[in-house]
Amino acid sequence: MSIQSLDDYISAKKQRVIIQRTASITSVAYNQSQTLHLAGNPGAGVLAGSNTANGVVPTDATAGCPIIDAFDSGAVGYLSGLELHSPVAGDFTIYDMLFKAGAYAYNANTTLASQPSFSSRVPDGNYKGLELWLEAVTAFTGNQSCRCTYLDQDGNAGDTGVIATGVAPIIGRMYRMPFASGDSGIRQLNSVVGSVSTVGTFNVLILRPLCTVRIPVANGIVKYDFTQTGLPQVYENSALLCLPRADSTATSTPWCALEIANKA
């Protein structure tokens, strides 16, 4: 039912999934940017979220995310390898995008209802380590503040409080929302309140980080095998993202090949 030995890895069915961007956007040095909406392979997706009232659970069918072919019946899937090239130095993190709500106006005050569950994409039902992010859909005027309420990793009510981001986000810029003290994950987004800024729209994402690599020198390649990725589980409907934190101020045109192994 899973990879439990070297022989299991060798015999596992594998597929290479490509995430490549051929267009670049301006970023803030060493701050994460969303790039799913840029041209490349797969083709560009749509930055603006499509639902503010409930949110959606993106899948590999979501535009901008790579398609993952079906696993063998009863198989468990893993990120078993990663190769990444980038024309600029920086960190790159592979995520499974579990939830997306937006696009919210700068002054939104929305209580979500009937949020779809992403529990089938959380290994062992362990919500610890899931991350809450904002991403700018259109540029902001004024430094944005935001408050989100949620259910934490154990299903208890959580509240970020009003977080002054201290920035007027440019398009694609992402901002990690801190949880309330004692919380280490999130299982549901309940409300979104924006303030201070006078212009701008944003999405709220729940992301599951899978693996982070660094390109130390421009035009370098980094290669991780399964001992380095740590074999995080992925699903045949995972919405995979490869998000840059470039050292410089452009996301550039990274190429990433992910090896996904599945073993019944």
């Binding site: 060798i10 398609i67 290669k223």
Partner: protein
Amino acid sequence: MAKMLSLADYEAAEKWKALYIKYGLTTAAGTWTSLLKAAGNFPAAVGPLISTLGSGVVNGGWGGVKGFLNLWGEEYGYLSRFEQGVDDLYITKVRAVASVPCSVRFFDIIQSGSATLESGTGFDEYFSSYEADILPRLCGTDDTLELWQGRLTGKMTSDVTATITGYYGDDLEDDVNISAVMPASLVADAMLPIPLNAGLKRLRRLSYLSGGLSGAGYFDIFMLRHLFSYDIEEPYKPVVINLLQGGGVPIHYKCHLSAAVCVKSGTTTGSHNLEIELAAH
């Protein structure tokens, strides 16, 4: 489905080493440059591919075309065993050395085609690849293929917009047109990825190429199956990829193994020397 299923299978497999030696081509830092036309230990391509394959836009065919290392294993008596499906072929280890700091990618050119433009005319050609030609080259994997363009010879006098038609569905019934600009600024041997249409997930096959009407020159279109990559941090410092570091890649015995290099500085791709361990099982 791959037949090498365990370390014991790897140990038992018959192995040999293929040598891949290529010497420098002119390049620019940050530009992916094909080594198809570089001199080395086997005949270089005489570009564009059209000149080695006959007229029209063609698929690469299987083997025997200049520029590709022959992995068939005739000398080990394996050719007939591959042809009959008794054994499968794998790249199980790579030892690579290069004379310049760079990134290197190796891939199987699953489909390729060249267009020759005469000023004021268009081009209008079919790829001659069909499902039966391509499926074996995927070796039972679900690997995503990559669409790239390149220029292996000559130079276009102005940008040319081409329409590339390909299939994106599993059933080869859903086709899509991709508009791609072939920039006249592309330097010799350079390769560029072609972005897919917004929302399009992947291409399965190429079928048709048309466009032109302005400019003159040549360009090539490639559908690539990625095999392995590595980073050369220091000149002449060997890099080894073993079975468990992404080796063990199943490849077709008539694979069109080819490489592209992206240097971190300087103007030459440098010299490349690879020992590629092949295993039949």
